[in-house]
């Protein structure tokens, strides 16, 4: 287990990389495997954020292909040495103070900086362009305090469509930001989530301008489980697409405690797999959408996307399907163009009061969201706890949004937003 350093301003790939004074010159150099053992389990690669690191033409790929030299060597699940860690540090103090190390990936290549990556953790990295393409199987990697962008300084990426893809990926993001400044980036991940039950987890992340004005863009697509918890969404095409495929479809989608402020289209897209013999029904899969605030939704809050579906029901004949596993409750909606549900809910399903229940069910609200001068902070103001009663639940919206209002000024109820 060894520490390595990368300094794109003063380092050199001819160095040994073992100290800040003998740092490698590029991140890609570490990941190519040219220097044996750099990406071994348990190693830490410190990226000195001296200047941007352009991967450039050395990074080549095409749709779905993994680049062998971009796979961290020997980092496989189940090792005892620990994960490979890639951590950005202040080039002067060598401390992790939140300074971002900027990696310029590719704008117009589907494959970008990583192929099949497992058990690797990135801290405080700002990624431009495609980040990952393919990691079939039980991959586990994490991004902490990272940013995913299509613009940095004067550099803009206009061709990329997403940061993560394709199938069968899984990973965790904590306190990350996904910001499309150019409007090019449609997706956070495309068909992410593993058919083997892996999950995408987005914990306390922010999503801004995904898809821009592009119709049909979605924030997250998934085959397997995907969770967004305590997230903030602003001006996105849609939020989550609980997409499904195969008999394991729709595992464990969870959308809890999010604020969604402004979507071009429907906020939550729920697809289903055609595993029954009753055309015309939309089998809603297990997904939990709880305790969210939806404001200014361009379509429906919940749009059921299966072609030909006439209602939301839960007919199925397969143990891998989850009747009434859907649970859409305790959400507050203000300003929705088309309505809450795009399809009528099957009468029986409604009557069971499990999945769609007036108790804590989706309720129209009346609240204010304000944005600071930067234009992206979200705040909620209300002067009346009881204005926001949810069914039988008298809990105020103020409490609900506690965690989102830290570090911001006290807004006034009724602020224009």
């Amino acid at each position: 287990m060894t520490d390595y350093y990368v300094d794109p301003l003063n380092g050199s790939n001819s160095n040994d990389g073992l100290s800040s004074g003998t740092a490698f010159g590029s991140y890609a150099w570490c990941m190519t495997g040219t220097v044996s053992g750099v990406t071994n389990p348990g190693n830490v690669i410190y990226l000195m954020a001296s200047t941007g690191d352009t991967l450039g033409s050395a990074v080549v790929g095409d749709s779905g292909a993994q680049l062998a030299w971009l796979v961290p060597n020997g980092v496989t699940k189940g090792t005892t040495a620990g994960n490979l860690q890639i951590r950005a540090i202040n080039p002067t103090t060598l401390e992790e103070d939140g300074t971002k190390y900027v990696i310029f990936g590719r704008d117009n290549q589907y494959a970008a900086i990583h192929g099949k990556v497992q058990d690797t953790v990135w801290y405080n990295i700002k990624f431009l362009g495609y980040v990952s393409t393919y990691s079939s199987g039980a991959s586990t990697y994490a991004f902490i305090n990272c940013e995913f962008a299509d613009k940095h300084g004067g550099t803009e990426y206009s061709s990329m469509t997403n940061w993560h893809g394709l199938d069968n990926q899984s990973g965790m993001h904590i306190n990350c930001k996904f910001i499309s400044s150019t409007g090019a980036a449609d997706y956070v991940c495309y068909r992410g989530g593993g058919v083997y039950g892996n999950s995408w987890v987005f914990d306390s992340c922010e999503f801004v301008n995904l898809s821009g004005a592009v119709i049909g863009g979605v924030g997250i697509g998934t085959k397997g489980g995907v969770s967004s918890i305590n997230g903030r969404w602003k001006n996105v095409g849609s939020c989550v697409f609980f997409n499904t495929s195969g008999d394991r479809a729709g595992w464990g989608g969870q959308f809890v405690n999010n604020i969604v402020d402004g979507t071009e289209n429907s906020a939550m897209l729920i697809d289903s797999v055609d595993d029954d013999t009753s055309p015309g029904y939309d089998e809603s899969k297990l997904s939990t959408t709880w305790n969210n605030v939806f404001n200014n939704i361009g379509g429906y809050v919940f749009e059921y996307t299966r072609a030909g579906a006439e209602e939301v029901a839960t007919y199925c004949d397969d143990r891998n399907s989850y009747p009434t596993g859907i649970n859409l409750n305790a959400n507050v909606v203000q300003g929705v163009v088309s309505g809450i549900h795009s399809l009528p809910i099957n009468e029986f399903l409604l009557s069971t009061r499990f999945a769609f229940d007036e108790y804590g069910g989706t309720t129209y609200g009346n609240f204010g969201l304000t944005h600071d001068t930067v234009g992206t902070q979200l705040m909620v103001a209300t002067g009346d706890n009881y204005l926001f009663q949810l069914g039988k639940n008298p809990t105020g919206i103020g409490q609900f949004l506690h965690s989102f209002t830290e570090q911001v000024g006290k807004p006034e109820f009724g602020d224009v937003f």
């Binding site: 999950s199 305590n230 499990f354 949004l401």
Partner: protein, 440 residues
């Protein structure tokens, strides 16, 4: 047949009736059944209901089932492919619905706090085991507004639903406080080998002195297992996520006066799946969450007050976050803890990095999986017997920008779901740096 409506009315009904009319329209043998036993143990599909039928259970008086000695009314199995075809594993009829058992008042209307009460008197089984109300394959049965009162001898709701889709209980009550202390057995209320069950807005009252487990659910085949907005009191353990290829949910619940709130199951991971433990209130619970060495839970935004041990406990004593064991499924973040007797994180829970002990908090701990929890003082919580509660919060604990205070009474029968989303970035046990806000 499906789509029929049956009526059960213990005060006005009779086993000799056809069950097809309510008491108001009774004539001759046209009238309600007198007991659920007429449907389950003594019934048949042709004229006592089955899949796709609705059973209105009129809360006229208690439905006394069992006499404490006979085994006649225990262990009912839904594994009857003729009568309950919808419920047999992989043998569902596509156009049939779940059967529903619905508690209603004497005007045949569902109303809050009106429950069809089943006074169940199971016979004594042994000092180590109990009889079950349901048994074997039983799935996709929907119950709501029903109350089970177990009297004198201990019993369990069901034991085994391998491969099935399990029950749904909504607005039901399981009151085991009537079991004689001497007869309490440590078996679980819902205990199965491979179950799936979901409960919503239900109340679970334990027997004896924190001796039993309420929910022991989660199926390895991926069926549902969820507890939403429920209330648990006087249990050894409120909720065990046994298994589950899909994600389990324990959200918006109130757990009070229990030894353990949520417990990692017996299958790898947190019950083999990804159990979401969020937005719950744990009060007077020794171990709000015991991961039992099983990683795979996301424990976030919970309020834990008067913890008798550690807020995050590990009864296995061996949990070792080695960064290589699927850690993406585990986190303990943004919880608020007040008065934890032993502390927040059990010392058995340790984190290694590169072979060195690094502790479990702060930016260098794992992937930030244990971070942003907040230890507070000054909260005053007053919970009534019906689980309604008042929580007073001093202004200094309020987040900037939060324009309301917490001095409100939260009524009974409510989820705390919307309340517990707080957590803190400052203070507490973490030195995790705060991510700055979005700028562009």
């Amino acid at each position: 047949m499906t789509g029929r409506t049956f009526y059960i009315d213990p005060l006005h009904g009779s086993s000799a009736n056809d069950g097809l009319t309510s008491a108001s329209f009774a004539s001759g043998t046209n009238g309600p059944f007198g007991s659920l036993t007429d449907v389950w143990w003594n019934g048949n599909c042709a004229d006592h209901g089955g899949s796709g039928d609705t059973f209105f259970c009129v809360a006229s008086t208690a439905d006394v089932i069992g006499d404490g000695t006979s085994t006649q009314y225990v262990g009912y199995s839904f594994n009857d492919s003729v009568r309950w075809a919808y419920n047999v594993f992989q043998n569902k009829k596509m156009e049939e619905y779940q059967p529903q058992f619905v508690g209603v008042n004497e005007n045949l209307v569902e109303e809050e706090n009106t429950h069809y009460t089943i006074e169940w008197r199971p016979p004594y089984y042994s000092s180590a085991n109990v009889y079950k109300f349901f048994d074997d394959y039983s799935s996709d049965i929907s119950f709501r507004q029903l109350k089970w009162e177990c009297i004198e001898n201990d019993g369990a709701m069901y034991y085994h639903t391998s491969g099935g889709h399990g029950f749904y209980f909504v607005d039901c009550i399981f009151d085991w406080s009537g079991v004689d202390d001497a007869n309490v057995v440590g078996t679980s209320l819902f205990s199965t080998g491979n179950p799936s069950t979901s409960v919503k807005n239900c109340t679970f009252i334990g027997a004896g002195d924190r001796q039993k487990t309420a929910m022991y659910i989660g199926s390895q085949y991926g069926q549902h297992s969820a507890s939403y907005g429920c209330r648990y009191e006087n249990w050894n353990t409120a909720f065990i996520q046994r298994a589950g290829n899909i994600d389990g949910c324990f959200m918006g619940n109130i757990v009070k006066n229990c030894n353990t709130g949520v417990y990692g199951g017996i299958v790898s991971g947190f019950g083999g799946g990804h159990c979401l433990v969020m937005n719950n209130l744990f009060y007077d619970v020794d171990k709000p969450v015991d991961i039992n060495g099983k990683l795979g839970a996301r424990i976030m935004n919970n309020l834990m007050i008067d913890v008798g041990s550690y807020a995050l406990a590990d009864s296995s004593g061996t949990t070792n976050f080695s960064l290589t064991t699927g850690l993406i499924y585990f986190c303990f973040r943004r919880n608020i803890i007040q008065n934890a007797t032993s502390g927040i994180i059990a010392p058995e829970i340790i984190a290694f990095q590169n072979g060195s002990l690094i502790g479990y908090t702060g930016p260098n701990s794992m992937w930030g999986n244990i971070s942003d929890n907040k230890v507070v003082t000054g909260l005053t919580l007053d919970i009534a017997d019906d689980f309604s509660f008042t929580l007073e919060c001093p202004p200094e604990l309020l987040a900037p920008g939060m324009t309301t205070d917490l001095n409100e009474v939260i009524s009974a029968n409510t989820s705390v779901g919307l309340f517990m989303t707080s957590g803190g970035y400052s203070g507490g046990i973490t030195n995790e740096g705060k991510q700055e806000r979005i700028t562009q």
